[in-house]
């Protein structure tokens, strides 16, 4: 009997497929998320749009918040640690968190090195903008990926860019001759072995969710249609007027992403979604997606 194997860590993410993972900041929100049909919750001190508004250094949440969320629901609980922050990750692992997001939403602790995620029993999810970044994170031991998008903006454009890019690059690798892969690995800055694995499987070896800007049921369905395995919704739900209704609508739109009549129905009377931000209005230092490499 062995714990912490690739199969166990990647398998956990496989079970989340077709589902929605919701950001929550307390036990009450966690219960609303679970009741709405979330497959997991992400316990945070502040949702990304509030992190953006607050400025300063964003760190791992107070363990008391994580604990309260873990006590409130039976679905898996994820939590965010700073990029490269070995101790935040170890603290979250010691608390029994089910998945750690090594996240660019928080201020990076290390601008050069991401965590060596293979050393942990707990699985990790990491953000990516292209296949090179995705493969580097898998190489370090990430068991799940998500697009970075641009968190806390309510603007889907960056998440669309990232999922299209990753999937186009996966298709290219799968179609290539094996003797061309080393050069592709060099060009992408990707571990060669991971590209070989992608070619052999015909797809990424871990699930890839959409994140960073999903604000409506239609956004969630769009990401599913572009090939995401599931959806993270950050600020979108609890920054909307009627979170419970909004959460249910996002879950249903994710399951039935090609049923447009249904999505039309469940998009009615949802109230005002979160106010979005135009990406070009963001100062370079405010772009979270450029954190990490």
């Amino acid at each position: 009997m062995i714990t912490g194997t690739d199969l166990v860590k990647r398998g956990m993410a496989e079970m989340q497929k077709g589902g929605v993972i919701m950001d929550v900041v307390n036990a009450e929100q966690a219960k609303i998320a679970e009741e709405a049909g979330a497959v997991a919750v992400m316990a945070l001190e502040r949702v990304p749009s509030d992190i953006r508004a607050a400025g300063g250094v964003a760190r791992m949440a107070d363990p008391r918040i994580v604990e309260a969320v873990m006590g409130a629901v039976t679905i898996p609980v994820m939590a965010k640690g700073r990029i490269g922050h070995i101790v935040e990750a170890r603290i979250l692992e010691a608390m029994g968190v089910d998945y750690i997001d090594e996240s660019e939403v928080l201020t990076p602790a290390d601008e050069e090195y991401h965590l060596n995620k293979r050393e942990y029993t707990v699985p990790f999810v990491c953000g990516c903008r292209d296949l090179g970044e995705a493969a580097r994170r898998i190489g370090e031991g990430a068991s799940m990926l998500r697009t970075k998008g641009e968190p806390g903006t309510g603007n889907i454009v960056e998440a669309v860019r990232h999922i299209r890019k990753v999937n186009a690059q996966v298709r290219k690798v799968v179609a290539m001759n094996e003797d061309e892969l080393m050069t592709e690995a060099k060009l992408l800055g990707a571990p060669y072995e991971i590209l070989l694995e992608i070619k052999r499987l015909g797809k990424l070896p871990v699930v890839n969710f959409a994140a960073g800007g999903v604000a409506t049921p239609a956004d969630a369905a769009l990401m599913m249609q572009l090939g995401a395995d599931g959806v993270f919704v950050g600020s979108g739900i609890f920054k909307s007027e009627n979170p419970a209704k909004f959460a249910r609508a996002i879950v249903e739109a994710t399951t039935h992403f090609q049923d447009y009549k249904l999505i039309a129905e469940l998009s009615k009377d949802l109230g005002t979604p979160m106010k979005g931000i135009e990406i070009s209005s963001l100062a370079p230092e405010a772009r979270m997606q450029d954190r990490g490499w």
Binding site: M1, I2, T3, G4, T5, L7, V8, G11, M12, E14, M15, Q16, K17, G18, G19, E34, E35, A36, G37, A38, V39, A40, T74, I75, P76, E93, G96, V97, D98, Y99, T121, V122, P123, R248, V251, E252, T255, H256
Partner: protein
């Protein structure tokens, strides 16, 4: 030729479909209750049981699933699917589909850091089967007509009651299709019996 459905509301649907296809049968992802009429057996996959239940209720699947069981068609639940099949759930007043005479406890091996792989002996399937347990449930009690197929550390982790098959772990995550093949045989037998 038989057709087997995989309930496709959420979870490891693709893996079960590949496993069924590897066993040489036609596999269908079931998203609408009407589609249940087109299949001879049904797999309830791993995933999050609370999320699946919410979608089952929303799309009025519950009665159709109970009818599916009533006419004797085989059903196979893995992990969350096992929870959906059980007649009794530890700590809950009501079951989900509630058709298999077992009592199941959710997340009974602990949180994700406690998830594990183990080799199991499964009666009529394999002496050593690679089983992946992820935040897994287990069968606390089994009714008298339930045949226990496998135990891990004295806990029941696979069982069969007539047309129902259930396991705590995820056979769909490995390349060993032995347990899926066992279910395919159950479906073939059930279909042959109904034809006579």
């Amino acid at each position: 030729m038989i057709r087997i459905g995989v309930l496709a509301l959420q979870g490891a649907v693709r893996e079960h479909i590949s496993s069924l296809e590897a066993c040489g049968v036609e596999a269908v992802a079931i998203k609408r209750k009407e589609e249940l009429n087109e299949v001879d057996g049904l797999i309830l996959p791993g995933g999050e049981s609370t999320a699946m239940r919410r979608l089952i209720d929303k799309y009025d699947f519950m009665d159709a699933l109970k009818d599916f069981a009533r006419v004797g068609k085989p059903m196979f639940g893995t992990c969350a699917g096992l929870i959906l099949l059980a007649k009794e759930l530890e700590g809950y007043r009501e079951p989900h589909i509630g058709v298999m005479d077992i009592k199941v406890e959710r997340n009974s091996f602990g949180r994700q850091v406690d998830s594990f792989e183990a080799d199991l002996a499964i009666k009529d399937v394999a002496d050593s089967f690679p089983a992946v347990f992820i935040r897994a449930p287990h069968i606390v009690e089994a009714g008298e007509n339930v045949e226990i197929l496998s135990k891990h550390n004295d806990r029941i982790v696979a069982a069969r009651e007539g047309q129902f098959l259930g396991c705590s772990f995820h056979p769909e995550l490995t390349d060993n299709h032995g347990l899926t093949a066992y279910f395919v045989e159950m479906v073939k037998e059930a279909k042959a019996t109904n034809l006579v």
